[in-house]
């Protein structure tokens, strides 16, 4: 019999545009 995989936890991800925004604000913060 095939072993049923364990349920995995869905990792929520920001969109590419949201990642861009986060990245820009991080760059602005760093000197």
């Amino acid at each position: 019999s095939t072993q049923r995989p364990r349920p995995r936890v869905l990792l929520k991800a920001p969109t590419l545009a949201e990642m861009d925004e986060m990245n820009i604000s991080e760059e602005e913060e760093s000197p």
């Binding site: 364990r6 995995r8 990792l11 861009d20």
Partner: protein, 394 residues
Amino acid sequence: RPVNIPRKEKDFQGMLEYKKDDELKLIKNLILELKPRGVAVNLIPGLPAYILFMCVRHADYINDDQRVRSLLTSTINGIKKILKKRSDDFEIVSFWLSNTCRFLHCLKQYSGEEAFMKHNTPRQNDHCLRNFDLAEYRQVISDLAIQIYQQLTKVMENVLQPMIVSGMLEHETIQGVSGLKPTGLRKRTSSVADEGTYTLDSIVRQLNNFHSTMCQHGMDPELIKQIVKQMFYIIGSVTLNNLLLRKDMCSWSKGMQIRYNVSQLEEWLRDKNLQTSGAKETLEPLIQAAQLLQVKKKTDEDAEAICSMCSALTTAQIVKVLNLYTPVNEFEERVTASFIRTIQVRLQNRKDSPQLLMDAKHIFPVTFPFNPSSLALESIQIPSSMNLGFLLRV
């Protein structure tokens, strides 16, 4: 002193362990400072993607969601950063498009979702992610791949743009045709291109260069087909648009030269086994315009033949070519106004766009068909030249 006993592949589980603090170093050495021409990287196409995935697997294995998130975010940002820095470098953009796609395929192949496991070996199935469903990150990485594809298209366009008019329209290679200039436009004939002039050979060499680079990077064959189709569309649309704007390009002999050039491009497609890419079809408007320059344009029968032949040209384009058509010699007549009117009447039921020029900036929608790999993760070794000695094979 510890004795270094080489471990057998079967002892490895195809994961790479790293210290949390080494994540920045990983991105720096593997993404930001990696040279695609390095021997190591060419040994296994997609090696950076496999390394990143093996790191993701370990973070998943130890059930550390923060680490998985952090690594995926840093990877995506690292790829975006290098592509911003080297935005017009075909080699870099092609390399990261290939690797981003391979990373995406790995995330699917080892997702544990049955649809993506069909071609896996039992060992590969053992290597599926245990704790996390990364479907949302796959979407982000797929979006990133689309962005990189669009950037690659722009880079190709910038490289090809200065070659197209010269190589496809102006430069003449067919012996005996060069002398047949439209009346009043005769010029010195020369079989050798002037220095700095692009020829069809320059275009073909450039296509070879793009193609071999993509193959070296292990780009998915289906993706190469889409890129080649996009390249051919750029060549065809820029050539046709210039033909439609230049009277000196609308002659019987130019029609002959264009058909010859197109046949060389088609031969290139056959040579690279890319006939099913749809690239040839993108040249259809140009092929028909070249035929239009060569057919008889006098009788009602000629008009009927032209209307059925020029299905890929708009009425505006057909009429423009006929208006611009310049006889090769004094024995040939210009296209009469009544003939052009006949054509217009015949085509008035066509519901085509009134636009004269093709949209040379059009980008076809891209897809990344799933392409699983037979490579066994546990067999992957990282060459020391990659400066990733801080990664521990697990």
